[in-house]
């Protein structure tokens, strides 16, 4: 396994050094310990890392590869396979619009295109100023309230494009950074 070659070990050391000062690493370490550093806990550890850091950096993946004794190629392979994991920092605020069947039938695509136009951002991306990530989801399981969106973690139902624009404006404008 490449990771155990000298070059691999060196870069893993660098990875750990780069992260050492970060308090969020504690959460990842705890997850690794909880599963006795077993390789089959890779998904759980990656999920914890994603939640703690908001995305998976290369250093973080190298660190996890070393800690679980799993080849880096597999860590990267697994991480890129699942939709939950991201590799770039997310925007300050996120708006997720559900594009499940029920939401689609009730016009969720219009909400997405309206937001895309208003904030000059493509679905799945973050605005240039890093303020807003506009994401789409395949069914959030709140179909009875379609169309549904999630604004910074809060689920809102029966949305219209107008509602969504208003909410995102409040999200970006009115919430001071200090409170987050």
């Amino acid at each position: 396994m490449l990771i155990h070659s000298r070059a691999g070990a060196a870069s893993a050391q660098q990875a750990k050094a780069a992260l050492a000062a970060d308090p969020r690493l504690k959460l990842v370490e705890r997850a690794i310990k909880k599963f006795d550093a077993r390789g089959d806990a890779l998904l759980e550890v990656l999920s914890t890392a994603q939640e703690a850091f908001g995305y998976l950096s290369q250093d973080l993946m190298r660190y996890i590869s070393l800690a679980l004794h799993v080849p880096l190629a597999r860590v990267f392979g697994v991480a890129t396979f699942y939709h939950l994991f991201t590799f770039k920092p997310a925007g300050e605020h996120t708006c997720i619009v559900c594009l499940g069947t029920a939401c689609y039938v009730k016009g969720a695509a219009d909400i997405v295109s309206t937001l895309e136009g208003a904030y000059r951002v493509k679905a799945g991306q973050t605005t240039a100023d890093g303020k807003l990530s506009l994401l789409v989801a395949r069914c959030l399981g709140s179909c009875g309230l379609a169309p549904v969106a999630v604004m910074d973690g809060g689920v809102v139902g029966k949305e219209t494009p107008g509602d969504a624009i208003g909410r995102v404006a409040t999200l970006i404008g009115a919430i001071p950074e200090a409170q987050r």
Partner: protein
């Protein structure tokens, strides 16, 4: 805990609940939380605190009450009279409800459109349903094991432990229960396979990776009655001889995960899970694994790869999981709803369950009824009910005065059923004959504003995104189908494209590795079957447009 302690605990909880003048229950499932049930909870709490009679009343959260589009919902139960259900409740209405209920008076007459009005419980939405699996949903507090035990909880486990494992498998087989994840494989037979498979170490997995867009039955069940799913799983483990179980739940369902975690903790504390369950020789542990967003992981072999920490890629079957599953050991995989059905069968008997439904499809099925209907929400109906009854009686008909066009079942693996087949009984075989599938239970109603080629394209985009890429027919075929559908929607397709589309669909269906690819063309095939004219009109539009340009 010993089996004889269970009824004592149940009686204690029942006495506690009976000692209250009334019980105020508010729905805390995801849909009602999104509609504002947090404010309702605060409003109820404050009003109870301010009212001198408040101490004698009880306040509790429940899971889904069913009619999600009318949420947040509150139900008030009395010992001496029928309960009252309130819809569209908000914080202010909550205060008024408390005042009325504690004064013992009938709900004040309020304007028909206002928040917190009374919702009659004799409307067809409720009366046409048969609640077996959802019997406790919206009735008990999902976070209190005592409430579950007071509602016959864990009595099925006690009964099962008094039977031999073979007898339990036989009972399930005689009931005629079929897998609720969509494929409809006989559950009892699957259990027998795992039970008779060689190997000391065996696993049980609950598939809660509910990926079909438009479906939320499993989510609601896990949120509203987590112990019933857990109890069904423990019984299954006893029947097949497993020592370890896993719940595999989507990351998109944090509340379901939280409630399952709590249920596992509480059950372990009571000796209903872990070593020597209820004082017997049988021991069983359960862990939760959280999915990371991959639709293909609902396929059983992909799901197992995911639990092992790998990419969720499916593999060829056989060997089936019953022979070689998790880490090569015999593994039983059932859908969450299947496990949720077990306790009722064990408690009431196989014959009782066998008496509900049609010849080949027994029992009840939960549907997530969504789309362009007046009533959207979660329903449970006996197998064999007609689509018409679901759409018009329970669903209250198509919203905004539009007309019914199609009902989509089975999500991206299913098909669209047109108006002329509304009188078809809902069971596994009839839906298959119509070119759709029962699926896991998503039922999305479309009105005459929906364009069917666009709907087909929507599902195909989903399959392109979610194809794992392992086999060529699915990876390449779905993308090609999507390309042709895009041409159709753009009005650039010709008749030859439609012919190619049909051939391609058959190829992908026949040659894909797993269920995802094999069923991916279904939405296209079924819309072509019933709405071919829409496809052809789009060709016509392009042709005439070109003719105009050249003229």
């Amino acid at each position: 805990m010993k089996p004889e302690e269970l009824p004592i605990l149940a009686d204690k909880e029942k006495a506690l609940q009976a000692s209250k003048t009334c019980r105020l229950l508010y729905c805390s499932s995801t849909a009602c939380v999104a509609s504002g049930s947090g404010a309702v909870k605060d409003g109820l709490t404050r009003a109870l605190k301010d009212n001198p009679a408040g101490k004698a009343a009880a306040l509790a959260q429940t899971g889904c009450m069913g009619l999600c589009s009318h949420g947040p919902m509150v139900r008030v139960e009395h010992a001496d009279r029928p309960s009252t259900l309130y819809e569209y409740v908000n914080g202010e209405a909550a205060a008024r409800i408390v005042a009325d209920e504690l004064a013992g008076q009938a709900p004040a007459a309020i304007a028909p459109e206002s928040a917190g009005r009374v919702l009659p419980q004799d409307i067809p939405f409720f009366t046409r349903q048969t609640k077996v699996v959802l019997a406790r949903a919206g009735v008990i507090d999902p976070e209190r094991i005592e409430d579950y035990i007071a509602h016959d909880g864990y009595t099925a486990l006690t009964r099962a432990l008094g039977m031999t494992p073979e007898q339990v498998c036989d009972e399930i087989q005689r009931s005629g229960l079929r897998g609720r994840g969509g494929a409809g494989y006989p559950t009892g037979l699957k259990w027998q396979h795992v039970r008779s498979a060689a190997g000391d170490k065996k696993y049980v997995v609950a598939n809660g990776d509910e990926g079909d867009p438009g479906a939320y039955m499993d989510r609601t069940l896990m949120e509203a009655d987590p112990h019933s799913v857990l109890e069904g799983m423990i019984i299954a483990a006893y029947a097949v001889g497993a020592q370890q179980g896993f719940f595999y739940v989507r990351a998109e369902y944090p509340l379901a995960v939280k409630r399952l975690e709590r249920a596992i903790r509480m059950a372990t504390r009571q000796g209903l899970l872990g070593k020597n369950i209820l004082g017997s020789e049988f021991s069983f542990e359960v862990d939760i694994r959280i999915g990371a967003g991959a639709f293909v992981c609902g396929e059983e072999t992909a799901l197992m790869a995911s639990i092992e920490g790998q990419r969720g890629l499916p593999r060829m079957r056989p060997p089936y999981p019953a022979q070689s599953g998790l880490w090569g050991c015999p593994t039983l995989i059932n859908n969450v709803e299947t496990f949720g059905t077990i306790t009722a069968i064990v408690n009431k008997g196989a014959d009782w369950f066998h008496g509900i439904g049609t010849e080949k499809s027994k029992g009840t099925k939960i549907f997530a009824l969504t789309g362009k209907l007046n009533n959207t929400g979660l329903i449970e109906v006996p197998m064999g009910i007609t689509l018409r009854e679901i759409v018009y009686d329970i669903g209250g008909g198509v919203a905004a005065g539009r007309s019914f066009k199609a009902a989509q079942t089975g999500g991206p693996s299913g098909g669209c059923i047109p108006a002329e087949h509304l009188d078809t009984p809902v069971d596994y075989e009839s839906l298959k004959a119509l070119g759709s599938i029962m699926g896991s239970g998503g039922l999305v109603v479309m009105d005459d504003t929906s364009s069917m080629p666009a709907v087909a394209k929507f599902f195909m985009e989903f399959c392109v995104d979610e194809s794992c890429g392992k086999c060529v027919p699915c990876r390449v075929g779905t993308a090609q189908i999507q390309g042709i559908l895009q041409k159709v929607v753009d009005g650039k397709a010709v008749q030859a494209d439609i012919d190619r589309l049909e051939r391609l669909c058959v190829t992908v269906q026949r040659t894909s590795l797993c269920g995802l690819g094999q069923s991916a063309p279904n939405p296209v095939i079924s819309t072509l079957r019933y709405f071919r004219d829409e496809y052809e009109q789009m060709l016509g539009a392009a042709a005439s447009a070109r003719a105009e340009v050249s003229a």
